[in-house]
Symmetry: C2
Subunit: 105 residues, 2 copies
């Protein structure tokens, strides 16, 4: 059977990128967070990059953005239930990465 | 605790790329294969791209290249035992990708 495996690439395209794993792990481990809280929790990310990555994750149904009609305006981000289906894969990738670095870096 | 999660990115850098998942799945499911067998089994890959991806996988200890002193020369590629530690992650990514495409594409 001829192999293309675009499904793996489809999954990878959603979680790959310099900042997406850090954003996902932060939301998975800390729950709902405001934009500037996320910015503080993720080492070195710029507001522009955080906004871009959150938008992509939101478009892919991984993250939910909630806006509260308060003054000042309050916006929070959290993992969707669907997004949490990535938790196991991310943890396994994290463990594999740690082991790989220990062995070969 | 400030998050960077470069370990996930380190793991992703090894399995990501248009052709790596297909090469990994082909070797995982078919065992040791010669170059032109791999080329035939992977839809649309060029010899140049296959050689480049195999070299990277070999450098990362994921794939083993074996050369036989026969005439004509015979070279085979197979997953290393270490490389097989990626099998579970790849299968989970594959399943997640199928499900995501079914829901959102």
């Amino acid at each position: 059977m001829k192999k293309t495996n675009c499904e793996v690439n489809d999954a990878l395209s959603i979680i790959s990128g310099k900042w997406k794993p850090a954003i996902l792990f932060t939301l998975i481990s800390n729950g709902s967070k405001r934009f500037n809280e996320l910015e503080r929790l993720i080492n070195g990310i710029t507001p522009r990059m955080l906004a871009k990555e959150l938008k992509e994750l939101e478009n892919n149904q991984i993250v939910k953005r909630t806006q509260y009609e308060t003054i000042p305006l309050k916006v929070t981000y959290e993992m969707t239930e669907y997004g949490m289906s990535l938790k196991d894969i991310l943890i396994k990738l994290h463990e594999w990465g740690i082991n790989h670095n220990r062995l070969y870096k």
